[in-house]
């Protein structure tokens, strides 16, 4: 089946910490904004692809009921950030297959209300007997996603001699994007000194290597290219996609080959299987004008750059120096400010930014002539968006 799908609407709630609204309240705010943006009517939304269910987010039946929708297609992912790509991919597949005309991808999360999920007593999945979903091993105090990212970064540092000062380029450059985004929560410049003097969260990760913990919602509408042509906005075409990778080679927060948990060790170099998305989209990696990734922790940006082969193995810390990934850089990364500096809406704030960039409405952040943008994660899935 050929993918026939485009993003035709996007809307967001306010992003913030300890917002008074319920998840459903945030979803409604974002949903209304997406209707306004797209020109679609509520009655035309007949599919739902939910990223995060309860308790962090909302379950599909609650959304359909609460927003007054009549739905004939539903997908709901695991309550983990990693299912962001999957939720959008299922929306694209559903409209391509005619299972729905317009699928709303809805993500409404209250991290500040459910903090105990992040490595505390509320983290049910972290306590799974065979190990948590980010390598958690609670009896030994390895109880939070940051732990898995930190232990992977420490190994990467030992292998390649990378320093915390070099890693700092990631949050510093992403912050520079955020300064151009009025929706971003972080609005002050981040200097190397700020980064180095910030408290350790899980050594070697400083405070500013860790993403924001926020509340917010984003709604994204996906329909076919034919339907998209009749709508208000310039369509953002989903040109190609590759799925989440899984198996013994994979540890959620490490590139294959780094040797975290039971991963076999290798040189971690990008393999053809990591780069299928370009061929499927009919573009080459050199065509990509901006990269968007799940920057829950700054090392994940390095690992993603290497996984897709933007640089060689062990070279990403060098690659990100001198503004390469910042505003006006050779490969801008997360021009919205990402999870590190805009807000943590599980990557959907990045999807909203991709949409604005392809439309050419990103204001001060606009990548000139943006026609090919990539979403790709350290766990290996990806989507190429084109004009």
């Amino acid at each position: 089946m050929k993918i026939n799908a485009a993003i035709v609407g996007t809307g967001a709630s306010t992003f913030g910490r300890f917002l008074p609204q319920s998840q459903l309240g945030l979803a409604a705010e974002a949903f209304k904004a997406a209707l306004e943006d797209s020109g679609l009517k509520r009655e035309e939304i007949d599919g739902l692809s939910m990223h995060m269910g309860s308790p962090l987010g909302l379950d599909y039946d609650r959304v359909a009921d609460g927003l007054g929708l009549n739905i004939r297609y539903v997908n709901q992912g695991w309550t983990h950030g990693r299912f962001v790509t999957n939720a959008l991919q299922h929306a694209a597949l559903a409209v391509s297959a005619g299972m729905a005309e317009v699928v709303a991808c809805v993500t409404a999360i209250s991290f500040t209300r459910e903090r105990a999920i992040l490595g505390g007593p509320g983290d049910i999945e972290g306590h799974r007997e065979e190990g948590g979903t980010h390598g958690e091993s609670p009896p030994y105090g390895l109880t939070a996603p940051a732990g898995g990212a930190a232990i992977a970064m420490q190994r990467y540092m030992a292998r390649y001699g990378t320093t915390s000062e070099e890693l700092a380029a990631v949050p510093m450059q992403i912050r520079r994007h955020a300064l151009r985004n009025p929706d971003a929560i972080m609005q002050q410049e981040l200097t190397l000194e700020d980064h180095q003097s910030s408290r350790m969260v899980v050594d070697p990760l400083h405070l500013f290597d860790c993403c924001l913990i926020t509340d917010g919602a984003v709604v994204t509408f996906v329909t076919t290219e034919e339907r998209a042509r009749d709508l208000r906005q310039k369509p953002v075409r989903i040109a190609g996609m590759q799925g989440i990778r899984s198996g013994r080679d994979e540890f959620i927060f490490a590139p294959p080959g780094l040797g975290i948990s039971q991963q076999p060790e290798s040189d971690s170099a990008s393999r053809p299987v990591d780069r299928e998305v370009y061929g499927l989209a009919g573009v080459s990696r050199d065509d990509v004008q901006g990269l968007y990734t799940y920057d829950a922790f700054s090392p994940l940006v390095l690992f993603t750059l290497e996984r897709f082969g933007f640089c060689g193995t062990g070279e990403a810390a060098g690659f990100v120096q001198n503004g390469t990934i910042g505003p006006g850089g050779r490969l801008p990364v997360n021009t919205n400010g990402g999870l590190l500096s805009e807000a943590h809406v599980a990557g959907w704030n990045h999807m909203r930014e991709i949409t604005r960039q392809i439309r050419g409405t990103a204001g001060d952040r606009q990548i000139p002539g943006a026609e090919v943008l990539q979403w790709g994660t350290v766990w290996g899935d990806s989507i190429i968006f084109t004009a």
Binding site: L118, G119, G120, P121, H127, E129, E130, G131, G135, S137, P138, P139, Y140, G141, L142, T143, A144, A146, G147, A150, I151, A152, Q154, R155, A158, R199, M200, V201, V202, D203, P204, L205, R248, G259, I260, S261, Q262
Partner: protein
């Protein structure tokens, strides 16, 4: 109050039961494939190498090397508040399997440090697998 301040404990009644029983008796027992001999952990129904469903729990050498580590300065789980900051290590046993653990007595190791298992009682029923620098290492 006890519930909130206690450290998380493993469950002892699942597929990993023989591992926890082994620790109580001073051994690191993991599944070994009867067909091809490959050790594996965590427990699984089939051998990831040859897909045989025949496995037995046998002890492995309780020695290995510290491959990586991280140090928690933020207390995510209230039970660890008295240990802050504490270090988690990744140990690769000589048999090739890896475990997340701690240095017994709370030390902070160097990458590449040789270590030997320490069987550390946590409760009357639970013994945890921790490590200490190997003699002379």
């Amino acid at each position: 109050m006890t519930e909130i301040t206690a450290k998380p404990l493993p469950r002892l009644d699942g597929p990993e039961a023989p591992f926890w029983a082994g620790l109580r008796e001073g051994e690191i027992r993991v599944q070994h494939c009867v067909a091809c001999g490959t050790p594996r952990f965590p427990a699984s129904r089939f051998c990831p190498e040859c897909h045989s469903d025949r496995a037995e729990w046998r002890a492995v050498e309780p020695r290995g090397e510290v491959e990586s580590h991280c140090t928690f300065h933020k207390c995510y789980f209230p039970g660890f508040v008295g240990d802050m900051p504490y270090t988690v290590i990744q140990v690769r046993l000589d048999c090739g399997l890896r475990f997340f653990s701690n240095i017994a007595d709370g030390g902070r190791p160097a990458t590449g440090q040789r270590v030997a298992a320490v069987f550390e009682p946590a409760t009357a029923d639970v013994v945890l697998l921790k490590f200490a620098p190997e003699d002379g290492a």
